[in-house]
């Protein structure tokens, strides 16, 4: 009887980014491998945003979140699996990122922004993506990004509604917002389509910033998925 033998062949990943073209040229793809993005929050938006960045091939990624995975996350969060309940979200993020694209470098912090280390890391980024879930936390993050001169891709959701845009010192999006009571917002919940689409929109804006493509100058977008209306709100 001949011995049973399995030969492992090295994986050929040369076609990994072939379907990014022509949305992302070969030269742009190369540039993305040198880019650094910080994702703040690894929940609904953060999990999807990280997934996108890893698959797109952004070379240096960082993510922070203090929380562990809970049952209430299962409806929408990519990192939330039944078998992962109770595990830190950033640990799940690390495993998933590594499983998808081992060429990407990912640093994780099981911590809420800001910590001194995170503030320091932020200043070396090309873009920061806001995947937080409160106005107060967003205002802190925006202030730190503006101080460091790093563009912030803003995104927030409730029900079928998405507010999103690119915040810069010239286009502050969160600082002037009022601390409204959020009971109405919470009642609407965060359904899956809204989360996935909002993350996709944030990814598209982040990509535009990273590749130096035109971005909206002064203002932000409001999308209502219930009737598919998109408004661009111009700021003075």
């Amino acid at each position: 009887m001949r011995p049973f033998c399995i030969r492992m062949r090295p994986m050929d990943l040369s076609d990994r980014y072939i379907r990014n073209q022509s949305s992302i040229s070969v030269e742009e793809q190369q540039r993305l491998t040198d880019c650094c993005v910080l994702v703040v929050g690894a929940g609904g938006l953060g999990g999807h945003v990280l997934e996108g960045l890893v698959r797109i091939g952004v070379g240096h990624l960082m993510i922070c979140d203090p929380d562990v995975i809970e049952a209430s996350n299962l409806n929408r969060q990519l990192l939330a699996l039944e078998g992962a309940l109770g595990r830190p979200k950033v640990e799940a993020a690390r495993e998933r990122a590594q499983a998808i694209n081992s060429a990407v470098e990912l640093r994780t912090w099981q911590a809420a922004f800001p910590t001194p280390e995170l503030v320091d890391a932020l200043s070396g980024c090309d873009v920061v993506i806001d995947c937080l879930d409160s106005l107060e936390a967003r205002q802190t993050l925006e202030a730190r990004c503006h101080r460091a001169g790093v563009p912030l891709v803003y995104g927030s959701i409730a029900g079928s509604y998405i507010y999103f845009g690119i915040s810069t010192p010239r286009n502050p999006l969160v600082a002037g917002q009022i601390g409204a009571r959020t009971s109405l917002d919470k009642q609407l919940g965060n359904p899956y389509p809204t989360v996935a689409i909002a993350a996709g929109l944030q990814l598209q804006l982040a990509l535009s910033v990273l590749l130096g493509r035109p971005t909206p100058d002064r203002g932000f977008y409001v999308l209502d998925l219930s009737d598919l209306t998109l408004d661009f709100v111009e700021l003075m």
Binding site: G41, G43, G44, L45, G46, D130, C131, L132, D133, S134, L135, R138, G155, S156, I157, A158, G159, Y161, I162, Y163, A175, G176, Q177, I178, G179, A180, R181, T182, L184, D185, K186, L188, N190, G219, V222, D224, D231, V233, E234, L235, M236
Partner: protein
């Protein structure tokens, strides 16, 4: 006249835009009250594209944009 533009669920039962009569001393907060919106439910208040507070006095012909809290992630 002040043009009020509403966003997200503020549109429910009110529509996208409402025109309200202007008078001297009219504040954004009074317009919010007249629309049946609780002032503490307004997360973004813009007057002619600038962030303002409900206490701000409106001028004739200004545009008031109101946004409810949408803060999840």
């Amino acid at each position: 006249m002040v043009l009020v533009k509403l966003f997200a669920f503020f549109r429910e039962g009110r529509g996208k835009e409402v025109e309200v009569d202007w008078h001297e001393g009219l504040t954004a907060g009074e317009v919010i009250d007249d629309l049946g919106i609780e002032r503490e439910d307004v997360q973004i208040l813009l007057i002619n594209g600038r962030h303002r507070k409900p206490e701000t006095v409106l001028e004739d012909g200004q545009k008031l944009f109101l946004f409810p809290p949408v803060a999840g992630g």
